[in-house]
Symmetry: C2
Subunit: 261 residues, 2 copies
């Protein structure tokens, strides 16, 4: 659990969670356990995704994947334990938040993982591998679930725990949906334009796995334009908030849009 | 998810959860979502346990195992989704209980799964297979975690959600620990004393897998005496409660102790 969780990574989800909490007027400690929890869930999804029966990946965050070091059985179990611990940590470590908001946050987070979230995206992704007729709609379904759902969960969790109003939570949910898709479009572009060394993970693997991607469906230039539009749409959602407090989320959207790995 | 969850089984954990809720004066609807949740978690642990990288089992609850029908990748993901959905269902569907108690229940349940619960037992079990020097202490660690932890979680959840006092919750926790161990001791005895036909599953499996068991470590007679003692210790924990309300849990303890398959 520690090996994969502490292997580094961009920590985009925890940062989103904390930034959303502060944007709606909350304090960092209210959302810190949830920020850790969303990273645990992201990590466990990568551990299971890397298994031989799924993507069969040897390298993750610049290190051998979990099952390469500890074996497949332990990689499955450590992922399960991380998933459970994420909920435990929110339940026992969140301070300064009403229990009603904690329960709401747990419900939102859980929904972003299961058969209406991350796992839904993974299953459709697996089933569409090698198919030649995957369209833009199905590609968007995959990414909205596989990547955007947990990003959305991270933001919504922060907004709920920070004491946000229903309207604020929904604006931030929309923001998260745009940057969730933005994140994946940029990932697809980087996979075909960067080397493994630059990425810290195997480059060009989407092509090898014959996966459908945005560059494959619309070309690199149109993919870049689409990324620009998503970034703008995302930032538009923040226009009603205090610009100073919105600055970290705007910076994060720009970071996601213009990152090089 | 449906295929494995709805394949049947003894439903011991949900029954324990509901009985504990009613014993402390709660109503069934308070604990019903949690009763479903503990069965989801039990099921997902079986799905992952049956995988080729773990026990590599072909049959479960009289049907082909999940990965045999849907493939390993889907079996891993469906297990993950069931685990997440268990928490979602408690968070969104529990009624008539204060949010503070729901948060406490979620923390207890999560702890019974991860690196201090079910998964801890699985990992030590995997690591001790084929070893000749596994002692009673290590065997007990495995069962206390692999089997008893979730049984304990089920009872404690029911007691918390039903409105039990701290003292009542702790008495029921002890009850659950005894019957958790009792459950496994009886399982071990049945494995060596009954035929496959009587059990409805492969008998003598532990011997073939060279697994350490109670009969192997202390003989059948001493194992039977140990089971008797555990059943008595468990029932002693219920002496302070209304006998009429305690009757279902006492019946369940006797069912576990004297079952023939």
């Amino acid at each position: 659990m520690r090996y994969s969780l502490l292997a580094g990574g961009k920590r985009v989800r925890p940062v989103l969670c904390l930034a959303a909490c502060e944007l709606v007027g909350g304090q960092e400690p209210m959302a810190m356990p949830s920020a850790c929890a969303v990273e645990m869930i992201h990590t466990m999804s990568l551990m299971h995704d890397d298994l031989p029966c799924m993507d069969n990946d040897d390298l993750r965050r610049g290190k051998p994947t979990n099952h390469k070091v500890f074996g497949e059985d332990v990689a499955v179990l450590a992922g399960d334990a991380l998933l459970a611990f994420a909920f435990e940590y929110i339940a026992v470590a969140t301070v300064g938040v009403t229990p009603a908001r904690i329960v709401r946050a747990i419900g939102e987070l859980a929904k972003s993982i299961g058969s209406e979230g991350l796992v839904a995206g993974q299953v459709v992704d697996i089933n569409s591998e090698g198919l030649s007729d995957v369209g833009l709609e199905q590609l968007e379904f995959i990414h909205v679930h596989k990547t955007a759902a947990l990003l959305e969960g991270s933001v919504v969790l922060g907004a709920i725990l920070g004491g946000g109003s229903t309207e604020e939570v929904e604006k931030l949910r929309n923001f998260a949906r745009y940057i969730g898709l933005l994140f994946q479009v940029v990932d697809d572009i980087l996979d075909v334009t960067k080397s493994s060394q630059e990425l810290g993970k195997t480059a060009g693997k989407d092509l090898v796995a014959d996966k459908v991607t945005y560059p494959k469906l619309m070309g690199i230039e149109k993919s870049r334009e689409f990324a620009e539009k998503l970034n703008k749409d995302a930032q538009d959602q923040l226009s009603g908030f205090d610009p100073e407090k919105a600055a970290p989320l705007i910076a994060l959207a720009n970071y996601i849009a213009y990152r090089q790995n």
